[in-house]
């Protein structure tokens, strides 16, 4: 792939992201903050779902674990410790469940990840209930601007990791095992280790994103934090954007957020219908997503 065609537009977007808060109003800033959130989540997901071909439909579990960790630590430790702690907790969880979970492939993996995310949600719900805390208020949360900068940093980091991994031994091994796991192992790719690395790596940033987002609402609610719709949105954005292209996360998150901003308040039913139509359309006719469309245009001209 042409590196300039990949990196240059990404740098332009980053430049825009850095200039953004200087003119954005308070509402627009929240839109920017959400965009950064989705880019960070989708680009992280792509490491495992795009490169290794292991489609996780439960990525919210890492977001939730990170959020839960940082909520518990909040006001005990400063933000710059709470956020990495959330990432660490999510990464450790991925490392722990990865070995058994990654033994299954295809639709079984999809269903298993969805199930695990739901299971963890209800476990957290249960333990909160036992503690007599069905919901909690969070005090002294950081400003939206602080959150914006932190999320922009995470989105950038997620894309940089994706760009680097694609060019390394790990990335090549992942693509090989995505195409054919048996053949990859037979020519020497350490498939089990590589899958676990991709899965763990794809969990850490979502954990940190969750750690930040839980502090946005000043109100902690388990079902909101572990909402399966977050997982669905990540997969939808990745597929519409192009699930193994670093530009895909930006394109997919950007398009979906744009549509939702226009339609969500005015016609929520149409929004969901459109989402479904888009997803089906892309899977059937543009499996390489918007980024794939760009690459094809680039080659033709």
């Amino acid at each position: 792939m042409n590196r300039t065609a990949t990196i240059l537009p990404l740098l332009l977007v980053l430049g825009f992201g850095i200039a953004f808060p200087s003119w954005a109003g308070s509402y627009t800033l929240i839109v920017g903050l959400l965009l950064c959130q989705w880019i960070a989540l989708t680009a992280s997901w792509t490491l495992c779902g795009g490169l290794a071909g292991y489609i996780s439909l439960g990525h919210v579990v890492f977001f939730g674990i990170g959020g839960y960790t940082s909520m518990l630590l909040w006001q005990v430790v400063p933000l710059w410790i709470a956020v990495p702690a959330g990432g660490l907790a999510a990464g450790l969880f991925a490392l722990l469940i990865g070995a058994p979970v990654l033994r299954v492939r295809g639709p079984y993996f999809v269903i298993l990840t969805l199930g695990i995310a739901e299971l963890v949600k209800y476990l957290v719900l249960l333990s909160e209930k036992e503690l007599g805390k069905s919901s909690r208020l969070i005090f002294g949360v950081p400003s939206n601007e602080t959150l914006y900068w932190a999320l922009l940093a995470l989105a950038t980091l997620a894309i940089v990791i994706l760009l680097i991994v694609r060019e390394t031994r790990l990335g090549h091994g992942l693509i090989a095992l995505r195409d054919d796991e048996t053949a990859a192992a037979t020519v020497g790719v350490p498939v089990a280790r590589y899958k676990l690395a991709a899965f763990t790596l794809s969990a850490i940033i979502p954990g940190m994103v969750g750690a930040l987002m839980v502090l946005r609402s000043a109100y902690f609610d388990v079902t909101q934090l572990f909402n399966a719709e977050i997982s669905f949105a990540i997969v939808t954005m990745a597929i519409i954007g192009g699930r193994d292209d670093p530009r895909g996360a930006v394109l997919g998150a950007g398009l979906l957020l744009l549509i939702s901003e226009f339609l969500w308040a005015r016609a929520p039913q149409i929004y969901l219908i459109l989402l479904g139509v888009l997803l089906i359309g892309f899977v059937l006719f543009l499996p390489r997503g918007l980024a794939g469309l760009l690459s094809r245009r680039g080659k033709a001209s």
Partner: protein, 240 residues
């Protein structure tokens, strides 16, 4: 010197005995042919040697190291490569990228050596003009050659070839035979070959092992095998 020794290996799938107490030895530098009808257990034997499946019992040793039940990536790095009868190319990659995966992971080649290993393997397998084509665009014969190229790139001492000539035209069989002969002659690679093209197997092999319903029914030089009554009865369908 024995490079590979298979001793009393048994493998069952459900109630079916795919391999029943199979033993064979492959000498360093030799070409050993494996013959038998469909379902005789030839490919299963390859899978056990390459680590794609685990035997129920028995031992496999390579250069005097026990490799029974090892992971395929480990066995590959020890110097055993295999091709797949039903081809398994990395379809999203080009020919060169496919081969590069083999060289990088199979023998840790990097830098200029990586480029060199890839070029050599592609040339040996006769794919030089197609190096930058997507693997998905190759014909069956091209994909069979890609199997050979990718396996070669891992730097094997022992190469397991699973019907690389099946489905090829007579002219393609001739050129593949030359390729294989040169592997032994120029690179000193030991070959264990499954083949249905009998004449090719007879020409290529120093010795042949005949499998029938998961059991070794005969082994010896191609001439001896051709005269063996058990082989003629079970494989060629002739009365002795």
């Amino acid at each position: 010197m024995t490079l590979l020794a298979v001793e009393g290996v048994t493998k069952t799938f459900g109630g079916l005995r795919a391999l029943d107490n199979v033993s064979l030895a492959v000498d360093k530098g030799s070409v050993v042919g494996l013959m038998g009808a469909n379902g005789a257990g030839k490919t299963t034997l390859f899978s056990l040697i390459a680590g794609n499946a685990r035997p129920d019992s028995g031992n496999i040793t390579f250069r005097n190291d026990a490799i029974t039940g090892n992971k395929p990536e480990r066995i590959c790095r020890m110097g055993i490569a295999r091709t797949f009868q039903i081809v398994r190319p990395f379809l999203s990659l080009t020919v060169r990228e496919n081969v590069m995966i083999g060289a990088r992971f199979g023998q840790n080649a990097r830098g200029s050596r990586l480029t060199e290993v890839c070029r050599e393997s592609i040339e040996l397998a006769g794919l030089a003009t197609m190096a930058d084509k997507p693997a998905a665009d190759l014909t069956l014969s091209g994909q069979k050659r890609l199997e050979v190229a990718r396996a070669l790139a891992t730097g094997p001492d022992l190469l397991l070839l699973d019907e690389v000539m099946a489905g090829l035209t007579p002219a393609e069989v001739m050129s593949m035979l030359e390729t294989l002969a040169s592997l032994r002659r120029n690179l000193g690679i030991t070959l264990l070959v499954i083949e249905h093209v009998m004449r090719a197997l007879m020409d290529l092999s120093d010795s042949i092992v005949a499998l029938h319903h998961g059991q070794v029914i005969a082994s010896g030089t191609p001439d001896e095998i051709g005269r063996d009554p058990a082989v003629r009865a079970s494989y060629l369908g002739l009365e002795s």
